[in-house]
Symmetry: C2
Subunit: 441 residues, 2 copies
């Protein structure tokens, strides 16, 4: 007998109601039990993972899977300990629920409180990395949300075991339904889930651009995520050259495969001849391929600097997330063109200006329409851990609900609690009473 997606979603909703009744202590107690459960099941997880990895090795040998994907798939004993550690970390984060976001006494004895609460049911789809299960489930449980997950088929055995560890760890807690954590097995089931906007409150896609894009195009449920990370570094005429070299290099080279790495370098024409040659030398050393606009090529030729990997940039380059040791370079006439270029071609993720001109920096920070706007700092800082959020469910390029790195707060909403003593609107409509609106918080 198969369980339908409709039933899975209904069970998640029921579970979410039960989760909403748990105190922060109760939620933490469950998470600690899960962490112990993961460690106890380490051998089982690793051996299930060995089956997935063996199959994946054949795929890699056949050229059907990248070596990088296989690497992300592998789970060692140390990896399981790390999973458990991360779950315990989440117990130390402050309670995200029941926070007073505002309070107003509308009139004597009529108190309105805006209070944070769980969203309800979260759907999540991810690829490869089996540790995502524990990472996500610990965040949803901490926020009293039920979660419905869909992992990649390449990690099916590992996922199955980890989800079972989670569900088994919940068993000793009568107040915590096992359906707080559920798993879908097929793509068709997940496609069906995306249409169920009355049953699921938010979808979080974690994976390739194609996956995220598919979800964004096909979901009737609000999606928290980012399709692309086309991040920029703009080196202004008033830049400190040493800072510009350091920050640009770090933004591109420190870890090029991730969304917060820079893809395009914009250089103020007033500083291009001074800045570009030493920058190109550093890129060349790090084997970064450079795709320059005509002015960039001209400046570098004039400087006599020869760079093996120098190519001409096309229009398409300004929109491309390379996720690799490639950078496009454009010379702009100043701050205005830089801002305009970023707002036109960027993905509203994270963009940085390098300058000692405080006025230029403020304009850039105010006028660039991105989740992260940085002055004299590497785009690579865009990350929930680095921001001090403690844990990260993902990074959002959207402007509604949550923006940039999203921690526990993005998995909550709020409700308005109004407490009175038989108060009626007729008294205010008739003029018998009038609102006092005393802001308490």
């Amino acid at each position: 007998m198969t369980t339908t997606v409709k039933e899975i979603a209904a069970r998640a909703r029921v579970a979410s109601r039960a989760l909403a009744r748990l105190s922060n202590n109760a939620r933490n107690e469950v998470l600690l039990a899960v962490a112990d459960g993961l460690e106890a099941a380490a051998a089982e997880i690793v051996s299930a993972n060995a089956i997935d990895c063996a199959a994946a090795e054949k795929e890699v040998a056949a050229g059907k899977m990248s070596a990088a994907m296989l690497k992300r798939l592998r789970v060692s004993n140390a990896g399981v300990r790390e999973m458990a550690l991360r779950v315990r970390d989440v117990t130390r984060l402050p309670d995200p629920l029941g926070r007073k976001l505002g309070a107003t006494e509308l009139d004597d004895g009529l108190l309105l409180v805006k209070e944070s609460c769980a969203l309800g049911v979260i759907g999540i789809v991810f690829e490869s990395r089996p540790e995502v299960i524990s990472q996500v489930a610990s965040l949803t449980l901490k926020t009293s949300n039920a979660v419905i997950m869909k992992g990649g088929s390449e990690s099916a055995h590992t996922n199955e075991v980890i989800v079972n560890v989670w569900r088994k760890a919940l068993e000793p807690f009568p107040a915590v339904p096992a359906d707080a954590v559920q798993m879908l097995r097929t793509r068709e089931e997940f496609a069906e889930l995306l249409t169920m906007d009355r049953d699921v409150d938010m979808i979080v896609p974690r994976g390739s651009y194609e996956l995220v894009h598919y979800v964004m195009q096909n979901s009737r449920i609000p999606v928290l995520g980012h399709g692309e990370g086309v991040c920029h570094v703009y080196v202004d005429r008033a830049a400190d050259l040493e800072k510009a070299l350091l920050v640009t290099f770090d933004s591109k080279v420190q870890y090029p495969a991730v969304c917060n790495a820079a893809e395009t370098l914009l250089v103020d024409e007033a500083i291009a001849a001074k800045f570009l040659p030493p920058m190109m030398a550093r890129f060349s050393e790090a084997k970064v391929e450079v795709r320059g606009c005509p002015k960039t090529l001209a400046v570098l030729e004039a400087s006599g600097g020869y760079i093996a990997a120098l190519k001409s940039a096309t229009e398409q380059d300004w929109r491309t997330e390379y996720s690799d040791l490639i950078i496009s370079v454009k010379i702009v006439v100043g701050l205005d063109e830089a801002i305009e270029h970023i707002n036109r071609y960027g993905s509203k993720h994270t963009d940085a200006i390098i300058t000692e001109d405080a006025g230029a920096a403020e304009r850039f920070l105010n006028e660039v329409d991105s989740a992260g706007v940085y002055h004299n700092a590497s785009t690579r800082f865009a990350d929930g851990y680095r921001y001090g959020l403690g844990a990260e469910i993902g990074i959002s390029n959207g402007k509604v609900h949550a923006r940039g790195p999203v921690g526990l707060e993005g998995l909550t909403t709020y409700k308005w609690k109004l407490r009175g003593h038989g108060d009626v609107v007729a008294d205010y409509a008739s003029g018998k009473k009038s609102f006092k609106h005393r802001v308490i918080q």
Copy 2:
């Protein structure tokens, strides 16, 4: 030469960038000029409105338009003064932009600030009431958003004049582009706008259920609004009878046409025989049609109370927003069934419990999954003005971004501003430096 929707959206985006540079004082100065402009154009607005009303009167005579719709369409001189007054009110609200929502020093001299900012471009569709233009445009201008509006064809002449007053009032301000306020003329244009998720940041539908539902089903842009208001009053066994009678009556009768009026009354079986007869007497006096569950009918029959308008409720009644002097009544076995009924049939708008039992009230407020959860107060309080938000763009039943009555805050998002001195992630990855995460705010 017609302007395409694509061009209109592009102009709105350009205008939004200019608006983002305005100080709160500058935005208020513009709004005051608009208020003056509206008053100066009163005769022009009223005479354009007379044309719309004449056409509408024919529609009403032909049975194609409701008298209520004609009433909402009419704009008097006093109405124009009220519009101007409301615009001036908005200037007195605190600046919604540039608010520090959080600040953390990631490390010495590396300061991260989470700061509120404009969304960008807002689309709005509304029916009948021409005063919506000024109400909405004042809120979008105060939040530095550009707005693209689509009004009902029945108020086309009035809308045209009011929008022109707005655009003309912006002219003396070189920093404020007239395209901050634009108007679409046809349904086809609006349908096209709904697909432009890269150009428009949020859509606000204000009008009938059909309109809102159409927008929610067809928009690729996040929608702020509510499809339905199926609000409940639950009278608990521990209710104070007088409060229960007052609050239930107010929730249903004070203004039945609006979304925060109650549609269903749930009564704890333990108090039904005592509460229902006097409640029905009051409903009967106010000519409220009552549709009861079998138990309700039995209790009322047993009490000997005869109510002319008493009918049997069907399953469909529990899901129906009457927006009229009709109420469905169900007897439930207690708090659990009440909560379950509301979460199952409600629209997550606003629901109230009447009880003197503090524990029951807390459970209701925590477990009912609605934007507004009230204890001993009328559902009719769910309104931006009554909440003290100063002004209201709408009421949201969604759980993401904004919930319940939405004021200026719902028209903003935030960005993360990071200010450093050449900081790079490589130093933290190598262990040379480590994060301090000093929470400042």
